[in-house]
């Protein structure tokens, strides 16, 4: 049996060589990392969140390091959908890797328009919907904090495109399962979770907040236990595939997410620390399968057991 086939999967109709995906916002548009990582080797690339018009982003300082993690308040700076289509996607299409575009909007109409515009291209394998964006019509609360709004935005995207859609859930909610159900009811083909957790950081010496925006999104190993718990809860509850993300640095982390029920995983902050992280995770997954006698990666999805007392 070839090793390539032991990791190959299809999620939401998107065929991938392996279940290791570059997380949105942490891998740019692939080009930034192309001298460091062989893009042909990874499962898929999810691009930086892209909106209808360019977004300027938040003022700096935009990052603060925390214990085993980082806070970011980038503010979804991006050059807009036309720039993505004209400059970034053509470059990416030279590689043999599915490109999933992470889409953002301030209103439901903006999400739908971006989705519709991307449907007109032939270089996009699917859309990941970032529902952590501020909803300007509802006083800047995120779309994904409430089942009703989640349903509305996902449903609008569903109607606007034939492409596979993957809502990416925000962990900053009381009941993640309720949000996941709303996303599936609205037509989600798969679900990504989690996005970053809202936090802040203060410099005691200067008695000031470290981020210009005061709050930011926490990512990195610090959030792994929360992401793992949410993946486990949601994977049990819905019948679409779940893509796990949050603090994955090593193959062992990736295996834990898959045992919890993730069919694929995304690597985010780890790319900054060690650009080779995704390649090592792919190799580590193969090694894990053969070490434990599994024939295919799908065999380990969701098989975690309760400890024996």
């Amino acid at each position: 049996m070839s090793t390539a086939s032991s990791l190959a999967i299809t999620i939401a109709g998107i065929h991938m060589k392996n279940p290791v995906i570059a997380a949105s916002g942490t891998f740019g548009f692939g080009k930034e990392y192309s001298s460091l990582v062989d893009l042909n080797k990874i499962g898929a690339i999810i691009t930086k969140g892209t909106s209808l018009e360019p977004w300027v982003g938040n003022p700096p300082e935009r990052i603060a390091e925390t214990a085993a993690g980082m806070l970011n308040s980038i503010g979804l700076q991006n050059d807009g959908i036309e720039n993505l289509i004209n400059e970034k996607l053509p470059w990416l299409s030279q590689f043999d890797v599915p490109v999933i575009v992470n889409i953002v909007g301030h209103t439901i109409e903006e999400y739908a328009k971006v989705a519709q515009r991307l449907s007109e291209t032939d270089s996009v394998a699917g859309l990941e919907i970032n529902i952590s964006c501020p909803n300007v019509k509802h006083g800047c609360i995120a779309f994904g904090v409430e089942p009703r709004m989640t349903f509305e935005v996902v449903n609008a995207v569903r109607k606007a495109t034939h492409l596979p859609i993957i809502p990416k859930l925000s962990p900053n909610v009381a009941d993640i399962v309720a949000i996941a159900h709303a996303a599936v009811d609205a037509g989600a083909d798969a679900i990504s979770l989690i996005n970053t957790l809202i936090g802040t950081s203060i410099n005691a010496e200067t008695r000031t907040f470290r981020l210009a925006n005061i709050t930011g999104g926490l990512s990195g190993p610090a959030i792994k236990p929360i992401a793992l718990r949410m993946v486990w809860e949601v994977a049990k509850a819905v019948d679409v595939p779940v893509i796990g993300v949050g603090g994955i640095m090593t193959a062992e982390d990736a295996v834990e997410f898959m045992l919890a029920g993730a069919s694929a995983i995304q690597v985010g902050t780890a790319n900054f620390v060690y650009p080779n992280a995704m390649i090592e995770i792919i190799e580590g997954l193969e090694a894990y399968l053969s070490r434990h006698g599994f024939g295919h990666i799908s065999e380990i999805v969701g098989i975690v057991q309760s400890p024996q007392c």
């Binding site: 300027v56 390091e65 980038i74």
Partner: protein, 290 residues
């Protein structure tokens, strides 16, 4: 009329991104320059061949990759590169946890880094005018590589170096700097050596006395406040000025958008440019100073 230096600092957002690579480099020398300042010399054959002054390396300070605190890499300017010997050095100030860990490394230890990164200083192929280098504190780190490169290409007579430090015992590698330029002037904030005051006051004085202002290229690196003042002085006198900025960086390769600095834009009132790929060296007129 001096030749106009049309330099090649990228000014497009989609500037060609320098292609850094991942290296494991052996430390071949470690020096305690001051109690809180270290210089590391690394065996880095490939890096030494292809880096230019103003570029930087993104260093993993942790002993092992799976120590996650501190998590992120730290950027350091290339202090000097010797392509013949295959050496690259960095000079750094112990500021916090990352630099403390880096300072604990000794000869023989391996360092994991990505480089060379960023757009360095633009150096003209030929130049009949002069060069004025302005360093503030640790800002001398990249300026030494620039100084040596300019000296090699144009001769020391054309180069002046202005250094600003808080107090006299912060003047590092004085002899090495002095022998590469025709004039080496120091300002100390406490007046313990040289000119008393800020290096920007010193710059102002020197600029007034230049006979060929248009033929003078200014290069500066130091704290943001200093750079802002340098930019103002140069703008006032119409001098071509390049500055190297320091921002907080996560990826170092242009992917995360964390390291931004406000710049003028032709279409918008301003935009945020990524210092790691569009900089860290910028034409001072490009920055939208606040």
């Amino acid at each position: 009329m001096a030749e106009q230096f049309v330099h090649h600092l990228p000014n497009k957002q989609e500037a060609d991104i320098p292609k850094g690579k991942l290296f494991e480099c052996r430390i071949i020398d470690q020096e305690m320059v001051l109690p809180h300042i270290r210089r590391l010399i690394l065996d880095a054959q490939e890096l030494a061949q292809k880096c230019i002054p103003g570029q930087f390396v993104h260093v993993l300070c942790n002993k092992f990759r799976q120590f996650y605190d501190p998590l992120l890499r730290r950027p350091f300017s290339i202090h000097f590169a010797d392509p013949e010997a295959g050496h690259v050095s960095i000079l750094f100030d112990i500021r916090g946890r990352g630099t403390k860990m880096l300072a604990d490394k000794t000869i023989g230890d391996m360092i994991d880094l990505i480089g060379p990164l960023g757009h360095g200083f633009a150096i003209p192929d030929s130049w009949s005018g002069s060069f004025l280098l302005v360093g503030g504190g640790m800002g001398i780190a990249p300026l030494y590589f620039l100084l040596r490169t300019l000296e090699k290409r144009f001769g020391k007579e054309k180069i002046k170096f202005l250094l600003g430090v808080k107090t006299s015992n912060m003047i590092l590698y004085r002899d090495q700097f002095e022998k590469c330029c025709s004039e080496y002037l120091v300002s100390t904030e406490d007046g313990s050596y040289g000119y008393q005051g800020m290096v920007t006051d010193l710059l102002k004085e020197r600029v007034e006395t230049l006979d060929n202002k248009l033929g003078c290229l200014v290069y500066a690196c130091g704290p943001m406040q200093m750079l802002k003042e340098v930019a103002k002085i140069c703008h006032h006198h119409n001098l071509n000025c390049q500055i190297s900025v320091e921002t907080k960086m996560a990826c170092g390769v242009g992917a995360c958008m964390s390291c931004v600095i406000k710049v003028h834009d032709t279409n918008l009132e301003y935009r945020y440019a990524r210092a790691c790929v569009e900089g860290p060296v910028f034409d001072s007129n490009k920055i939208k100073w606040e």
